[in-house]
């Protein structure tokens, strides 16, 4: 797990580890975590840019209200990361500006490791 994150985990009990992919990095998170928590754990900040001004944003309220944690999750854009539970192998990416109207594919991109 990269140490760039300023959000150290507080151990609150036993839970399984789950690996997700955050912008090409394998990140270990706990089952039951949200995708927004995975992004914070990975230090992937800013996690999105706004549609009009491209200004940087990161997860904020973590309870489904502020929409600052919008992410691309498994090819679906503008998904509220804090309301989405991680699944093994989930592909999480930054939301860059406005979403596309059609589903996105990344087949043409090189995967980072």
């Amino acid at each position: 797990m990269p140490n760039a994150s300023e959000f150290p985990r507080i151990e609150t009990g036993a839970a399984e580890w789950v690996e997700v992919d955050v912008d090409g990095q394998p990140i270990q998170v706990r089952a039951g975590d949200s995708a927004a928590a995975a992004v914070l754990a990975a230090g992937l900040l800013p996690s999105r840019s706004t549609p009009v001004n491209n200004s940087p944003r990161a997860p904020y309220c973590m309870m489904g209200v502020c929409f600052e944690c919008l992410l691309e999750i498994d090819g679906m854009e503008n998904v509220q990361g804090c309301m989405t539970e991680v699944r093994p192998g989930m592909q999480i990416r930054r939301q860059q500006g406005a979403r596309h109207a059609e589903p996105v594919t990344h087949d043409h991109e090189d995967r980072q490791s």
Partner: protein, 371 residues
């Protein structure tokens, strides 16, 4: 400000109603050197100007009244100057785009009916009325995302759109910058014609002015008789859906769906006679969404983020009311349901008419005696 014998505040001219119609007219009147005040009701007002769709639309407008087609097209031609002036005055880009617009239909019959209507309008305009009928293949040259259920469209190169909220903001700032005053003093209680000018009573005090313009939308119905005019206007509700911002794909406005400069998708065009209820209903929103997603299947995956209802200011024939009071000279009625399209007309020739009492335009066809 002139001294008066009592506490009334004064202006050369007061407009009652500070929506798009009142503001645009007021801006034009300021160009004549007039000291102009807008008496706007308050946030409880019906506010059609906050709920509209934002089209600067020409095609089909005035199919039974050539003069209405004439002023709509005149306004469309004047629009780029207004947008430039607003940008110079306020720095606000109202996102005016006039590269043409499409009215899509899901049935061949509707395309044919619209084509026939536009042919009649072309004849009435002496041949000068640009439009084309498009089949689906031609529609897709403009908008590749048009769905397979689209039967065709009518296209008019003079159509366009703006961002109506930015327009509202820009008009307000420009008016204030030119020395105008806007009060939110509640609903006007009375207008009393004086030997010279008018006295206007609001819940927060009294105003005196030489001329008064009624630009209060549906409120004109009660105000007009106070100055010897008649304003037979009634509400017609439109509901609007807003989808999340997406990257630009709709590069031309359509009669039902448009994309703003910032990516927002706006979907609308419902018409309901439901009195003064400006709410929304699931049934109508579902109809609007169904039609829009059949026209553009790409919208199916988008999230709706807002919806609202707003009340159009309609007359029995759908055309505006522009009228000077004969009984009380100096009082004018200005109301319509197309405050965006006609904005540049109101800020230009219509304001000139009110300021000078002269015009070359056939405004007499818009008086209330036609009903």
């Amino acid at each position: 400000m002139q001294a008066t014998h009592h506490s009334a505040r004064t202006a050369d001219l007061c407009l009652i109603g500070g929506g798009l119609v009142g503001l645009a007219t007021a801006l034009g009147l300021q160009r004549h050197g007039l000291n102009v005040t807008i008496l706007d009701e308050a946030d409880v007002a019906l506010r059609a100007s906050r709920g509209n769709f934002g089209l600067v639309w020409v095609q089909g407008k005035g199919d039974t009244l050539p003069e209405y087609a004439q002023i709509s097209r005149l306004s469309a031609r004047l629009w780029s100057d207004l947008a430039c002036q607003l940008r110079e005055d306020t720095g606000i880009d109202v996102e005016l785009q006039q590269r043409g617009g499409l009215y899509l239909s899901l049935t061949e019959q509707e395309v044919s009916d619209r084509e026939a209507m536009l042919f009649r309008m072309r004849e009435a305009a002496g041949g000068d009325y640009p439009f084309e009928r498009l089949d689906l293949k031609q529609v897709r040259e403009f908008i590749p995302e048009a769905g397979p259920e689209v039967a065709g469209a009518t296209w008019c190169p003079e159509d366009g759109h703006v961002n109506p909220l930015k327009l509202m903001r820009a008009l307000t700032e420009a008016f204030l910058k030119h020395g105008g005053q806007i009060t939110n003093s509640g609903r006007v209680e009375s207008i009393t014609p004086l030997a010279q000018g008018f006295k206007i009573q609001t819940p927060e005090g009294e105003w005196q002015c030489q001329k008064v313009v009624l630009s209060a939308g549906l409120g004109n119905r009660t105000l007009a008789p106070m100055v010897g005019l008649d304003a037979p206007v009634f509400p017609n509700r439109g509901q609007v859906l807003i989808a999340e911002r997406v990257r630009p794909f709709l590069h031309y406005p359509t009669g039902h769906v448009r994309q703003t400069g910032e990516g927002t998708i706006q979907v609308g065009d419902s018409k309901e006679d439901v009195g003064f209820d400006s709410g929304t209903t699931t049934e109508v929103m579902a109809q609007i969404a169904d039609r829009a997603t059949r026209m553009f299947p790409i919208l199916r995956g988008l999230r709706m983020v807002r919806a609202w209802g707003a009340l159009r200011i309609m007359t029995a024939d759908g055309y505006p009311l522009y009228q000077a009071s004969e009984q009380h000279p100096g009082a004018y009625l200005v109301t319509c349901h197309s405050g965006v399209t006609l904005g540049a007309f109101h800020a230009g020739p219509l304001a000139d008419w009110i300021a000078t009492d002269q015009t070359d335009l056939p405004l007499e066809v818009f008086n209330a005696q036609r009903f």
